[in-house]
Symmetry: C2
Subunit: 267 residues, 2 copies
C-alpha cells in the first residue's frame, strides 16, 4: 500500500499525476491519495477580497492564518474544487475514485491549537482564534472501507478537531500519519521541487538519500515549506513506514519516478 501526497502549489499539472496513478492502480497496488490546496486557496481568497495572511512560528515554520472564514475558503477551494478535479480525472481514466476530507469518517482527528505564536518584525504575537492544529489520531476505517469496496480514496484537508470543528492541518504531515496508520510501505511527497536540496535553489545539490540518523540534520537544509516535508518524511519513517520520498510532481511519470528513487529518499 502506498500513500501519495500531491502538493497544492502553482505549476503542478494534474494530468501526468493521475495517469501515473491509473497505471499503478492497474497493477493491483493499493493507493491512497492525499492532496493540499494552498495555491487554489490563495487565489480564491484574493477573488473574495481577502488576501491570504501567512504567519511564521518562532521555530521558523510558515503556515496560513486560518480564521473561520479562511477555513471555509480553504474548504471551497480544496475540498470543493481541487479534490473533485482529481476525482474527475481519475474517473475518466477508468479509476473509481472517491473524494473525502479528513473530517469524513473522522479520518484525521487532532487538538486545535488554543494559542499559536506568530513572529512578525521580531515581535511574537499570540493568536487565539486560529482553526489549525496537528493530526493526533488517524481513524483509518473509512480508508479500508473504500479500498475494500474497490474505490481509491482521494483525501483533502481539513481535519476535525476533538471538539468536532473543522481544523486546518499540514497535509504532508497528515499524509505521514495516514501512511503509518494504514501500514503503508511508502509515503511519497510530490511537489514542484526535485527533492531536498543541500544548497537551495541549486537543483544539482539534490540529496539522494537520508538515513534516520541524519533526519535532524536534514531539517537544517530545508527552507520554507520544505521544512514541513522533511518533518513529515522523518515522522513517517520513524513511525514504521519503510521509505518516504520527497519527489518531483512535475515529472512525466511522477510516482513511478519517485518509486525508482528519483528525489530524496528517507529510509
Amino acid at each position: 500500500m502506498l500513500v501519495i501526497k500531491l502538493g497544492g502549489s502553482a505549476g503542478i499539472n494534474l494530468d501526468p499525476f493521475c495517469e501515473d496513478i491509473a497505471r499503478l492502480s492497474r497493477t493491483g497496488e493499493k493507493l491512497i491519495i492525499v492532496h493540499g490546496g494552498s495555491d487554489a486557496t490563495t487565489r480564491l481568497s484574493e477573488q473574495l477580497g481577502r488576501p491570504p495572511v501567512f504567519i511564521t512560528s518562532p521555530s521558523g515554520h510558515t503556515s496560513r492564518r486560518t480564521d473561520r472564514r479562511t477555513l471555509e475558503i480553504f474548504q471551497m477551494a480544496c475540498r470543493g474544487v481541487l479534490n473533485q478535479q482529481v476525482v474527475e480525472r481519475l474517473q475518466r481514466l477508468g479509476i473509481n475514485a472517491v473524494g473525502i476530507s479528513g473530517m469524513d469518517g473522522r479520518l484525521w482527528v487532532g487538538q486545535r491549537k488554543a494559542a499559536i505564536r506568530a513572529v512578525e518584525n521580531g515581535v511574537t504575537r499570540i493568536i487565539r482564534d486560529d482553526f489549525s492544529g496537528t493530526v493526533d489520531t488517524v481513524n483509518p476505517q473509512i480508508i479500508h472501507t473504500l479500498l475494500s469496496g474497490g474505490f481509491i480514496p482521494v483525501i483533502s484537508p481539513p481535519a476535525v478537531s476533538t471538539d468536532g470543528e473543522p481544523m486546518n492541518v499540514d497535509a504532508d504531515r497528515a499524509a505521514a500519519s495516514t501512511a503509518s496508520a494504514v501500514g503503508a510501505s511508502a509515503l511519497l511527497l510530490l511537489s514542484n521541487v526535485p527533492g531536498l536540496l543541500r544548497q537551495f535553489p541549486d537543483e544539482s545539490s539534490l540529496i539522494r538519500e537520508i538515513k534516520r540518523t541524519d533526519f535532524q540534520r536534514a531539517e537544517g537544509f530545508a527552507q520554507g515549506r520544505m521544512k514541513k516535508k522533511v518533518l513529515a518524511a522523518s515522522e513517517a519513517v520513524l513511525a514504521g513506514v519503510q521509505r518516504a520520498i520527497i519527489g518531483d510532481a512535475r515529472a512525466a511519470e511522477p510516482i513511478t519516478s519517485a518509486l525508482a528513487g528519483q528525489g530524496t529518499v528517507f529510509a
Copy 2:
C-alpha cells in the same frame, strides 16, 4: 432504508435536521442524506461578482444557468462547505458521517444536455455550453460500501456526465433515482414549505395525500421549484418506492414529522 433530501434554500436550520437524523440513526434505521445548495451557491456567486442567472424551460421548469465557472462555484458552496457543515454537525452528535458528491464512485451518471431551451420574454434561446443534465444511472455501490462500513452518506450534487465531466442535476430528482436504486422504503423531500399547496401560498390548502392516479394532476398545483419536487416524488413512487413525502424542513423534528405524515404524501 430511507433517502432524505434536505433543500438548500434560505431559512433552513441544519441543527434540528441533524438532531433528528441522529435520533433516527440510533434506532438502527439506515439513512442516506442528499442535499442541495441553491442559496449558498447564489450567495457565493454574488460574492465572486457573478450574480446567478436562472432560466425557464418551455415547459415552465426553472433551473440555474450553469457554465463551467458556475459549476465550480456550485461545487465550492455545495460540496466544499454545505456538505461538510452537515457532516460536522452529525459527527458532533456522534454520527459517523461521510460526505460525497454524485461524482464520487460515479454514483450519479447522466447525459449532459447538448442544448437546452430557455424562454426569455417569450423568445426561446438555445444554450449549448451548459453543464446540466439528468441522472440516468445510479451506481449505488458507494452507498452500500459506506453503509456497511457503519458510515452515513451525505450526498451533494454535482453528478458526473457520461463524458466524465461534472454536471449540475436537480437534487430532488437525483434523490428520487437514488431511493429507487437502493430499494428505499421512503423518500423525504424536505424544504421551506409545508408540502404541496392547492392554492399557493395559502398553507391551509395543503394537500395531504396524492394517489398515483393523480400524480399528473398534482403537477398542475405546483409553482416554481415545487414542480421539480412533485416530479421527483412521482418518479420515486412509480419506480417502486412505497412513499415519497414532501415535508417541512423548518419543523422541530422535520424527519419524524414527515414520516408521521405531516406534509404531502405520494403513495
